[in-house]
Each structure stands twice: as structure tokens, then as C-alpha cells.
């Protein structure tokens, strides 16, 4: 056999092997290791992409945005506009009942479980706080208080996920392994089981290298072909009445956002100087303001005990504010306790991460609520929702975000995406419009 023929045969054999490997097959166990801390059970507390990706497996939202930000149904049959401000969500084929969904969403506005993600439901009549009266056996009818064209896509946000094993996987009390849900509305996942593990960044990387895991979330360089958008935004919230009005200027004068993303925050991360992340609006180049007169004040900075990035940034802020005369005490809290303190306004300084939707309008709503300016939502959202053209709407949002930037007690710091690495056992997972990997679509190639 001539050499060219041999090369042709070898090439053909490789092509067949690759084709066989890429063909989805059912069964097997997918091992996912997360660098960091365990994800919270409550989807409304899934503020990081890794948390949201894990939470989605068992508590998905009604729909999922694809890479083009089009909503694809997950728990719904159909979403129908009955009128300009009326929406019908059909749930005939889902195990999630309309009543459970309504109860879940109402929970976001309750005092004990108050969440900035309630702003996603703000365009609904009564701000989405009285939904249980609008359900039928197989549908949820929603009325809008004002036009809001982005509502259908807002409902796809992971924070609006419905717990109760409605996702592609079923979880037990130990939360691992997750078993494939054959009754999942969007279809059974390929793998039979999904094994979740949480490890330090180094250990997680080692597991991947040693083929002890197929997917690594949250550490190292992202290996996916298209980097996901960085929509997990971290802000420094402060209470001017407790820390003084000049603190915001002191922070702006003290911090270098590029330094934060370069030295203290795991990638992929980008500096964020605007209210919304770079994925949603261009970032202005801010001239560092002259520092105000040195102020001697004792303040406490609260941060999420489960996020190493926040700890590092909190320490950085502690050092930089110390140079400005502040004595900053650090206090790490669980995410639930952190959210409770935020809801009560009981903090001096607080690092707050939120997973923003990939839509400027809903994202701005969440940010305004996060800043404690829930009162601004009607005046800001109504004019935006009144614009039918998406481009005009987004432009309006960016213009308002820029205008509101200096007025809110909220200092944007950085935005992060989710680094996803995978072993050769699987094809690299694709990302949805939220930047989350589609773990429920993965299958083992061998």
C-alpha cells in the first residue's frame, strides 16, 4: 500500500473515531468539581455563575436564554402574550405547578427572604407580590403594570428557578450524586448520574488533570471556544448615613479596578466602572478623583464568607482605605445572613455580588434594587419599557445607568464570568445566554 493511501486510510479512521466520539450516548457518570464553596440550595442566593450553573441542574427557571438571548422553554409549554400587558404561561407538561411557581416568586418580595432579584418581577402588577390568585391548573396568567417587553426573557433568570427537582437532575438530601430526571420537561439528560464535588482551586485543577473529574467550574483559564459573558457583578454597597458621604469618593480615589482583577480576583474577570458590566454597556474611563480630606472613622465591611475573591477584595479595600485613614474591620457572613443584613440596611460597607441578566433593562432594575433604591424602579423602568425597539431600549438603559452612577450608594468593582474547563472525556460544554455552561447537555464520549 502506497504511503498516500495509507495516510488516507489513517485519516479516514481518525475521522470515524472522532465522529463516534462526538456522538451523544446515554449513560455514565459525569463528575463536576467546583473550585470554591458549595452552592446554596436557594436559587435566589445563587449569585455566582458556578452557583447558578449547579442550582440550575435541579431548580431551573421557566426558560433558558440561548446564546442569542432567545428564550427556550424549560418548564413551560408556551408563553403567550394575551395582550400588550397580559401574559399566559402554560405549564401543562411540567411537574412544576403554577401555584408552586407563584409561591416561589412571591417569596422574593417577602421580608425574610427579600432579594434584589425581585426587581425582575417588578413590571408585574403589584410588583409580582400577589401571584397566587392568578393561577389555573395548568397556567399562570400574569398582568403587567406597564409595558415591559423584556419580561419573557427576564423570567429565564436562574434566580427565578423553581426548586423541587424540576430540573434535569434529581437531588437527594446530600445533593450528590444527582440522578438523571427522566421526567424532565426538556428531556432526560444523557448521563445517568452527575457527581458534584467542591474543592480548593488547586485540588480542583489536580482532579481534572488526574481525570478524577470531567468538568471544572470556577478555576483556571476558560477552555470553552467562546468565553462566556461576565455577568456576575460585584459592588461595594455602603450606607452614607453610617460611613459618611465622602466614603464613596475615598474608595474611588483609593482603588484601581484593574489591580483588583489583575491580582485579587479569579478570572475571567473584568474591571467594572459603570453600573452595568462591560457585557451590557461600555465602561467609561474614570479619572481617579482627588481624595477627600483624610477621615478617621471605624467601619465594618461585610463580605461573603463563601467567596475567596470577595475576601481578597475586602482585604484590599481594607488596606487602601486604611491609607485614607479608615479603620476597616472585616466580617465574613454566610450569603443568607449577608442578604438579610442587606434587606435590613444593617451594614456600613458590604461587598455584594449579583448575577445580572444579560439584558440591560432587567439588569438595571436589579442594580437599582441592590442599591436600596427600589423607589426608583417605577420612574426608571416605565420609560424604558415604553420603548418598543430593543436597541433604543438598551440605549436608554445605558444612558440612565450612566446618569445614575454617581447618585447611588453603590460602587461597581468588577464583573466575573465562569471559567469552565473540561477533560478530554467530554466535549467542552456550550454556554447559554446567561454565560452558564449547559451541564445537562453533556455526555461522555467513551
Amino acid at each position: 500500500m502506497s504511503q498516500p493511501r495509507l495516510l488516507l486510510l489513517a485519516g479516514g479512521a481518525l475521522a470515524l473515531t472522532a465522529l463516534g466520539a462526538s456522538r451523544p450516548r446515554y449513560g455514565g457518570e459525569l463528575r463536576v468539581v467546583v473550585a470554591g464553596s458549595p452552592a446554596p440550595e436557594d436559587p435566589a442566593l445563587a449569585d455566582t455563575p458556578a452557583d447558578a450553573a449547579i442550582s440550575w441542574l435541579t431548580a431551573p427557571a421557566l426558560c433558558r436564554l440561548d446564546a442569542n438571548l432567545r428564550p427556550a422553554p424549560v418548564l413551560t409549554d408556551e408563553v403567550t402574550r394575551l395582550g400588550p400587558q397580559r401574559l399566559r404561561i402554560g405549564l401543562g407538561g411540567s411537574r412544576a405547578t403554577p401555584a408552586a411557581i407563584a409561591e416561589r416568586w412571591e417569596r422574593l418580595s417577602r421580608t425574610a427572604t427579600l432579594s434584589p432579584y425581585r426587581a425582575l418581577l417588578y413590571p408585574l402588577r403589584d410588583e409580582g407580590r400577589r401571584l397566587t390568585g392568578r393561577v389555573t391548573d395548568d397556567a399562570l396568567e400574569l398582568s403587567l403594570a406597564f409595558p415591559w417587553p423584556d419580561l419573557e426573557r427576564s423570567l429565564c433568570h436562574p434566580a427565578l428557578g423553581i426548586p423541587g427537582n424540576h430540573g434535569a437532575f434529581l437531588s437527594n438530601r446530600a445533593r450528590t450524586p444527582l440522578l438523571a430526571n427522566p421526567a424532565h420537561a426538556a428531556g432526560r439528560p444523557f448521563v445517568d448520574r452527575l457527581l458534584l464535588a467542591v474543592a480548593s482551586e488547586r485540588d480542583a485543577a489536580r482532579r481534572l488533570e488526574l481525570n478524577q473529574a470531567e468538568v471544572l467550574l470556577g478555576a483556571g483559564e476558560d477552555s470553552s471556544p467562546a468565553p462566556p459573558p461576565a455577568l456576575s457583578a460585584t459592588y461595594l454597597a455602603y450606607r452614607p448615613s453610617r460611613v459618611g458621604a465622602s466614603l464613596g469618593r475615598s474608595v474611588e480615589a483609593a482603588i484601581d479596578r484593574a489591580d483588583l482583577t489583575r491580582y485579587f480576583v479569579r478570572g475571567p474577570a473584568v474591571p467594572m466602572s459603570a453600573l452595568l458590566p462591560p457585557a451590557l454597556m461600555p465602561q467609561p474611563t474614570l479619572a481617579r478623583p482627588p481624595p477627600p480630606a483624610s477621615e478617621s472613622r471605624d467601619v465594618t465591611l461585610l463580605y461573603d464568607a463563601g467567596l475567596d475573591d470577595q475576601r481578597a477584595v475586602a482585604e484590599r479595600l481594607q488596606v487602601k482605605l486604611h491609607d485614607r485613614g479608615y479603620r476597616v474591620a472585616l466580617k465574613a457572613l454566610s450569603r443568607g445572613e449577608l442578604r438579610r443584613r442587606w434587606a435590613q440596611g444593617d451594614f456600613d460597607l458590604m461587598l455584594h455580588a449579583v448575577l445580572l441578566p444579560p439584558l440591560p433593562g432587567p439588569a438595571l432594575a436589579v442594580v437599582l434594587d441592590l442599591a436600596g433604591r427600589h423607589d426608583l424602579l417605577p420612574t426608571e423602568l416605565r420609560p424604558i419599557g415604553a420603548l418598543a425597539d430593543p436597541a433604543e431600549r438598551d440605549a436608554k438603559v445605558r444612558q440612565r445607568a450612566e446618569a445614575l452612577r454617581e447618585t447611588l450608594p453603590l460602587i461597581p468593582l468588577y464583573a466575573q464570568g465562569l471559567a469552565v474547563r473540561s477533560s478530554s472525556q467530554i466535549l467542552p460544554p456550550a454556554s447559554d445566554g446567561q454565560g452558564l455552561p449547559l451541564l445537562d447537555d453533556l455526555f461522555l464520549v467513551r
Binding site: 484601581d256 489591580d259 489583575r262 491580582y263 485579587f264 471605624d298 481578597a312 482585604e315 484590599r316 481594607q318 488596606v319 487602601k320 486604611h322 479603620r327 476597616v328 474591620a329 472585616l330 466580617k331
Partner: protein, 552 residues
């Protein structure tokens, strides 16, 4: 204050003064001894702490030398030389620091920018001029510098023993400045080593401490650098406790001594004062008229002699008093006898002369015998009558009956008496001033006799006429009757005698009237007092006790 008490108080200093003298001396000696021991311990602790810090400095020097020679630090320099982003080495210092037991380590580029920090990772990207200044030190030995340190409450500057080492790779120089904090762990180490309370001082105050030393303490500061020191403190509470124990023991002895002294003093004083108190009681009884008083307490020495002399003196006084009373009684009876003889003798002369006249006339057969017989018989009868009256009064004086007491309204009684003088002789005026309702227990007949006698005497004392004032009043549990005249009165030298029998200033008086009146008053528990009236006359005062129920 009684003699017994004074004796006891006088004995107290015997117990207290010696203790007060000995106590300060004993305490001073004890304090000196214990202080020397404490100073010795503190000196040893000071030396041990200095040695421990020297050892720590040596460890820092060795660690930094080893780090400077390590491939790890060279790798950092090589990484930076290769143009890698500084973030690639940002975490290196933490690893290098912990592997070498250091608590401070920062890696700087040649410009002094922190490329990695183990003790303060958040300082990466910033200059740290204070710590980087160690790179300019000529001496490679560790020295003290203030280094930032982070804790939950904020950033503060803490002294640290640091040294700087440089590593070059090509044109890239990396400075490693590392060492050890002067922190709580070092304080605990020194406290455990020296057995003292260790306080780390800088910025003018205690920053860290370990160990314990109950106050008061004896302390010494080990100076480490500018404003940085280690204060070692040993409790001197044990010394104070020993001193307090000694003081308590002395005070206990003082209390026991005082109690014993009080008991001893009480016993001695009782023995001494018992004789004196018996003498005092005896003297008080003698002063009260009890001449039979005799001191029976037994004593020796001078006190015994004094008791003997007192008893002898009392006995002599009693004997002399009895003799004096007997003499006075004899003298009084002699006086009565003399007066009685005089009174009896006076009538005898006219009787004798009358009888002699009759005898002479009968012998001479005088024709006037009948006339003389009649005259003499008249004289004799008069004198005999006089003798009989004298003897009757004397008998009555001698045999005055016991008064028959009954309730007597004095104003009524006086009214009856004064009624006899309702028509006094010319020139005499009777002025009664009687308080009504005054009642006494008395023999109304005897009391009437007294009052008649007094009013009669007053009347007779004013031959030229005058005023008789009769007053009845009460006061101090007594009823007082006063009879006052405006006659010539009684000379003060005779007032004491007018109540004696047979003393009279009147012509033809027996001198027994006032004596009988005085005796009646005495028989009623009262008295008859003689006084002078303001106008020069006499004032006789009858004082009778009021019954208990009516006494004011």
C-alpha cells in the same frame, strides 16, 4: 473616771507600745529580703527574654539567608525577568513565608513596589516604603521596624524584627524583606519562658500581653528599639501578702496582749481599788451620820494601815460623840434643874419672911398680929399658888400627852382661835390672811393650844398696841402658819433659846409656853421656827406636814 478604769488604761501601753516598736522593724527587714528575691527573679527573666529575642533574630537571619539562596526566590526573579505579569508571583510570598517560619515577608521589585506579600497579600501592587527601607540597611542583621499587620478589626502597625535580602536575575532585582512580628505569640513564648507577665510596648502603649501578674507588680522594660520594648512584670503580691501576714500576726498579738492586759489590769485594779472603794463607802456612811460604820476589807501595806486608822478614827468619833451627847444632856438637865430650883426658890423667900413676921409678932404679942397674919397668909397663899402653878406646868411639860391625830381644816381652826380675838384690846389689830382648804392631820386641841400661845405672846409683845398678822399658806408639801407682830421682836442671839424650857423675856412668864408649843409641833412631825418680822417684830412660824394625798 474610777480608779479601777484608770488603772486598766494605764496598763494598756505595756501591751501596745512594744508591738508598735517591733512591727515596723520586722516589716522593713521582711520587705528588704523579699525585694531582693524578686529583683533576682526579674533580672533572670530579663536575661532570658533578651536571649530569646536574640535567638529569634538569629532565626530570622538564617531564614532570610536561606531564602536568598533558595531556588524559589530565584524563580520569582526569573518569572519577572521573563516579562510575566506580576500576578503570576502574587501568591509566592505566602508560601515562602510559611515554609520558613516567618510571619513577615514581602517581595519588592527594584522600585519598591510590592509584587507579593505573605503577611499582607492585599498590599500587592502598592509601594511599602517603610518596609522597603530595610533594603537600605547596611547591616544584614535583623532589626526592628514597624510593619503593617491585618486583623479582623483593621490594619495596624506592629514592630517586627526584619532583614532584607536581594536576588538578581539578569537586570531584574527582587528584594525580599522578611522577619517576625513582635506579636502575641512572641509575648506568649516569652511569658512561658520567663514566668512573668509580658507586655509588648510600642507607640506609647501596651499592644500585646501574655501571662499574668497580680498587682502590685515589679517590672522592667527591655528596650528593643525606638519606642519599642518588652515589659516584664512579676507580681509582688506574695511579698505584700507576707507583709500583711506579719502585720496581721502582730495585730493579733496586740489584740491578745491588750485583752490579757485588760484582764490583768482588771484583777490588779480590783485588788487595789477594792480597799479604796470600801474606805470611800465607809467615809460616805460616816458622813451620813452612821458612826457605827466599819471598813472590813482586807488589805496590806499602806492601804491596810489606812483602813485601820479609819476604823479607829470612826470608833473614837463615836465615843466622843456619845460623851458629848451625854454631857449636853446633863448640862440641859442641870440647866432645867437650876431654873426649876430658881423658880421654886423664889416663892420660898416671901413665904419664909411672912412666917418669920408672924412668929415675931406672936412672940411680941403684937397688937397687929391679926393684921399681919392676914397679910402673911395672903402672901403665903399666893406664893404657894405660884409654886403649884409652876409645878403643874412642869408636870405638863414633862408629861405632854400623845397627840390624837385627825383631819383638821386649818383655816377653820384658825377662824375659831381668832374668834377669841374678835374684840382685841384697844390699839391691837388682828389681820388674818388664810388660804382656804388647807387640811392637815393634827390634834385640834394641842394645835389650838399652840396657836393661842403664839397669838397671846404676840399680843403681850405689843403693850403699846400694834398689828397681829396671822397667815395660812402651803408650800413644798407643808402647811405654814405664821404669826407676826409689830412689837420689839426677839434679838437674833435669843432666837435659838426662846424655845428652851424656862427661857422667858416676860415678867412673870414661866418660860415653858414656847417650849411646849415647839414640842407639840415636833410631835406632829413639824416644827416651830422663830424669825424676825420685816418691821422689826417677831415672826413665829408653825410648819406642819401635809398629808401625802394633798401634797402638791
Amino acid at each position: 473616771m474610777r480608779l479601777r478604769t484608770r488603772l486598766m488604761i494605764a496598763l494598756l501601753p505595756l501591751a501596745v507600745v512594744p508591738l508598735a516598736v517591733v512591727l515596723p522593724v520586722a516589716q522593713a527587714n521582711l520587705r528588704r529580703t523579699l525585694s531582693r528575691e524578686l529583683e533576682g527573679r526579674l533580672e533572670a527573666a530579663h536575661a532570658a527574654a533578651a536571649a530569646a529575642l536574640d535567638k529569634r533574630a538569629e532565626e530570622v537571619r538564617r531564614s532570610m539567608d536561606e531564602l536568598a539562596d533558595s531556588a524559589a526566590l530565584e524563580e520569582v526573579a526569573r518569572t519577572l525577568h521573563g516579562g510575566a505579569p506580576p500576578a503570576r508571583v502574587a501568591g509566592q510570598a505566602t508560601r515562602l513565608m510559611s515554609a520558613r517560619g516567618l510571619t513577615v515577608l514581602s517581595l519588592f521589585d527594584a522600585q519598591g513596589t510590592t509584587v507579593s506579600s505573605g503577611h499582607l497579600p492585599a498590599r500587592v501592587g502598592d509601594p511599602d516604603p517603610r518596609l522597603f527601607a530595610a533594603s537600605l540597611w547596611k547591616d544584614p542583621a535583623p532589626s526592628w521596624a514597624l510593619v503593617e499587620r491585618r486583623d479582623a478589626s483593621g490594619i495596624r502597625e506592629v514592630p517586627a524584627l526584619v532583614a532584607a535580602r536581594a536576588v538578581d536575575y539578569g537586570r531584574v532585582r527582587v528584594w525580599a524583606v522578611g522577619g517576625a512580628y513582635l506579636d502575641a505569640s512572641l509575648a506568649r513564648h516569652l511569658a512561658g519562658l520567663t514566668g512573668t507577665r509580658v507586655e509588648l510596648l510600642w507607640a506609647g502603649q501596651v499592644q500585646e500581653s501574655a501571662g499574668s501578674a497580680a498587682p502590685p507588680v515589679l517590672a522592667r522594660v527591655l528596650q528593643l528599639g525606638d519606642g519599642v520594648g518588652v515589659r516584664l512584670a512579676i507580681s509582688s503580691a506574695a511579698q505584700r501578702e507576707a507583709e500583711a501576714g506579719i502585720t496581721r500576726a502582730f495585730l493579733g498579738l496586740a489584740v491578745v496582749g491588750v485583752l490579757l492586759t485588760l484582764l490583768l489590769g482588771f484583777y490588779v485594779a480590783r485588788r487595789i481599788s477594792r480597799s479604796v472603794e470600801a474606805l470611800t463607802a465607809g467615809a460616805q456612811r460616816v458622813a451620813g451620820g452612821d458612826l457605827d460604820a466599819k471598813v472590813t476589807a482586807r488589805a496590806s501595806g499602806e492601804v491596810g494601815e489606812l483602813i485601820g486608822a479609819f476604823n479607829q478614827m470612826t470608833q473614837q468619833l463615836r465615843t466622843q460623840t456619845e460623851r458629848l451627847v451625854a454631857s449636853e444632856r446633863i448640862a440641859a438637865w442641870q440647866d432645867v434643874a437650876r431654873r426649876l430650883a430658881h423658880e421654886l426658890k423664889n416663892p420660898l423667900t416671901p413665904i419664909k419672911m411672912s412666917l418669920e413676921t408672924l412668929l415675931a409678932a406672936r412672940e411680941l404679942n403684937s397688937p397687929r398680929f391679926g393684921e399681919l397674919f392676914g397679910e402673911s397668909a395672903t402672901v403665903i397663899l399666893e406664893e404657894v399658888e405660884r409654886l403649884r402653878r409652876t409645878i403643874d406646868e412642869f408636870s405638863r411639860f414633862a408629861r405632854l400627852p400623845k397627840p390624837q391625830l385627825e383631819e383638821v381644816a386649818l383655816d377653820a381652826l384658825l377662824g375659831q382661835v381668832l374668834a377669841l380675838y374678835a374684840s382685841p384690846r384697844a390699839g391691837v389689830t388682828v389681820v388674818p390672811q388664810l388660804q382656804p382648804g388647807v387640811t392637815v392631820r393634827a390634834d385640834p386641841d394641842q394645835l389650838t393650844q399652840v396657836l393661842l400661845n403664839l397669838i397671846k405672846n404676840a399680843d403681850e409683845a405689843m403693850p403699846e398696841g400694834g398689828t397681829i398678822r396671822v397667815r395660812l399658806r402651803t408650800g413644798k408639801g407643808q402647811a405654814v402658819i405664821e404669826v407676826e407682830d409689830t412689837g420689839k421682836g426677839i434679838p437674833p442671839e435669843d432666837r435659838a433659846r426662846v424655845l428652851e424650857p424656862y427661857f422667858t423675856q416676860k415678867e412673870g412668864g414661866t418660860g415653858l409656853g414656847l417650849s411646849i408649843a415647839s414640842r407639840i409641833c415636833q410631835e406632829h412631825g413639824g416644827a416651830l421656827e422663830v424669825d424676825g418680822a420685816p418691821g422689826g417684830g417677831a415672826l413665829m412660824r408653825v410648819v406642819l406636814p401635809l398629808p401625802e394625798s394633798v401634797s402638791p
